[in-house]
């Protein structure tokens, strides 16, 4: 556990040693602020619904950009040889990278808290601002991000080229984010399955303020699959 945290800590600090972290955070915050507040004032309704609809889409691009270097860079620079000769298990390396990326997303989300506070302040007399829904929305965002991170890490493990890692991660995130859009075109039974594997479908449930174990199990499964694939791809470097 301590070794996982040591890997995570080093990785997290490395983000901020390069300009990429700042650029990604700046892009995320400006896009989410701009795209959220514009329609908000037009609609004149003090709700975070727009925000929670928007951020998962941004994550599709932002998360692979955060995870792309995690393992690809280690392979390219050769430091993977150090990592893989430490007296630790391969999954600990992957878990450390996962936690660091999740920490990075959490920092990004922390900076969006003023959005919620502003919207709460804009709420007029009558219905109170729904802090419960805001809380479960943020939880849902973290779960979406965690699933995308697990997919993005696999992309990064598959190549020594960061850009290739980014593209593989992006394709996987797009698949799991938008697959439910096809549900309408499919017969009922198939549509159910397609909906079930969609990250967005489960997020909509949570963002409504309903924290259902079925949704939590879905995210846990997707994260576990992504991290297992990442670990086995990382271990195959030993072959």
């Amino acid at each position: 556990m301590n070794t996982t945290l040591a890997i995570a800590k080093r990785e997290f600090r490395t983000f901020f040693a390069s300009p990429i972290a700042y650029i990604v955070l700046a892009v995320f915050l400006s896009l989410s602020g701009w795209l959220f507040f514009g329609p908000l004032f037009l609609a004149g309704q003090a709700s975070l619904r727009g925000f929670f609809g928007l951020v998962p889409l941004l994550f599709v691009f932002i998360v692979p950009a955060i995870t792309m270097r995690a393992l690809a860079e280690e392979r390219k620079s050769g430091t993977i040889e150090l990592l893989l000769t430490f007296p630790i298990e391969d999954w600990e390396i992957v878990a450390g990278k996962f936690l660091a990326s999740l920490g990075m997303i959490a920092v990004g989300l922390l900076f969006t808290l003023p959005y919620s506070i502003s919207v709460a302040a804009l709420t007029g007399p009558g219905p109170a601002f729904d802090w419960g829904a805001a809380f479960s929305g943020y939880l849902g965002l973290l779960l979406v991000a965690a699933s995308f991170i697990a997919l993005g890490l696999w992309g990064s493990a598959a190549s020594r080229n960061q850009i290739v890692g980014f593209i593989i991660g992006l394709v996987l995130c797009i698949f799991f984010a938008f697959i439910d859009n096809f549900a309408l075109l499919l017969p009922e039974r198939l549509a159910r399955i397609v909906e079930y594997v969609s990250v967005d479908f489960h997020f909509q449930n949570i963002a409504r303020g309903v924290i259902d174990t079925r949704d939590l199990i879905f995210y846990a499964t997707l994260i576990a699959i992504g991290l297992t694939l990442t670990t086995s791809t990382l271990s195959s470097a030993r072959k």
Partner: protein
């Protein structure tokens, strides 16, 4: 406690179609400093990577102490300090932060971390650069950072893959002194192309070629273990006429004991130089008879030392042709 620090049994490693190691076996007792020699692609790095727990062998076993590196890799790796080839480091980290990170992942007791970092940094001469980014360091300092991370957890076995490559002569001497010093208390296996390095730091030499062990001896004995000596010979003809070097070398080759003849530079005026190699039998008496019979005169005859270089070339070069 077993007496051997490294035990390798029939180690084989295939990358796709190419076979990097073909059933390599050797044993290294505790406290020995072993030089691992071989041309590029001989399998040195592959062997070291398997020992260090980075690669898994295709077949065969490798033990560090009594731990099988494939069966219990985490425990085996904990006993090893490893300096990989090309010394990969996290460029963006400060030297101290890097060593601190190593201390964490190597599970060094938090109470001892700072003391360990301090002693490793002192030993490797890193005190002046401890607060600098690794990316800014010269190659010599980088190498010391690599060594410092390898000794930080006080391992029983040090695996150093080309520890002096790319350094200037002063840095090489410094690093060698450091390795010699470490060798007093630890088992060290180091790979190199530089033969003088083996002679100055190692008590034993292993030469591998094409994934197999071709020699295993002390650096002093190794030149002779090729079973050969050499003679430098310069001949002229009694009449002063030029000697036909091709015909003469044919004659010399037939002398009992001579195993090889190379024509080298003579002294001019029709003289010819030869480099003769011989096996167990000393051919000098027989040579004298042949020279007299052919009406030649010996202008110079000198036994030459067979260097480690010659042995290395013979063991790793000739085998390919054969």
């Amino acid at each position: 406690m077993p007496s051997s620090m490294i035990r390798i049994e029939g180690l084989t490693k295939r990358y796709g179609m190419t076979e990097a190691l073909k059933g390599l076996s050797f044993e290294v007792p505790r406290g020995q400093v072993v030089g691992f020699l071989g041309p590029n692609g001989a399998g040195k790095s592959t062997t070291m990577r398997i020992l260090a727990g980075y690669l898994t062998p295709t077949a065969g076993k490798a033990f560090v102490g009594d731990v099988d590196v494939s069966a219990d890799p985490v425990r085996a790796r904990a006993m090893i300090g490893y300096l990989p080839e090309n010394n990969p480091l996290y460029e963006e980290m400060m030297v101290f932060d890097f060593l601190h990170f190593i201390a964490e992942v190597r599970k060094i007791d938090p109470a001892q971390r700072d003391a360990r970092i301090k002693s490793a940094a002192e030993r490797c001469g890193l005190k002046d650069v401890i607060g600098k980014d690794i990316g800014q360091l010269s190659k010599g300092y980088r190498q010391r950072v690599g060594l410092a991370q390898a000794i930080l957890h006080d391992p029983d076995l040090l695996i150093l893959d080309e520890p002096t490559s790319g350094l200037d002569p002063n840095q090489i001497v410094e690093i060698r002194e450091l390795i010699k010093d470490l060798g007093k208390e630890k088992t060290v296996i180091l790979s190199t192309h530089v033969l003088s390095e083996v002679q100055s730091t190692c008590s034993r030499v292993l030469i591998i070629n094409g994934g197999k062990l071709v020699a295993d001896d002390s650096p002093e004995n190794l030149p002779a273990s090729g079973g050969e000596g050499a003679i430098h010979l310069v001949l002229g003809s009694r009449s002063g006429a030029a000697i036909d070097s091709a015909a003469a070398s044919g004659v010399l080759k037939s002398v009992a004991g001579v195993t090889g003849v190379d024509v080298v530079e003579g002294e001019g005026h029709g003289t010819v130089g030869f480099k003769l190699r011989f096996g167990v039998e000393d051919p000098r008496r027989a040579l004298f008879e042949v020279v007299v019979k052919n009406d030649w005169v010996i202008l110079e005859v000198r036994r030459t030392q067979v260097s480690l270089e010659d042995t290395f070339r013979k063991l790793t070069g000739d085998k390919k042709a054969a």
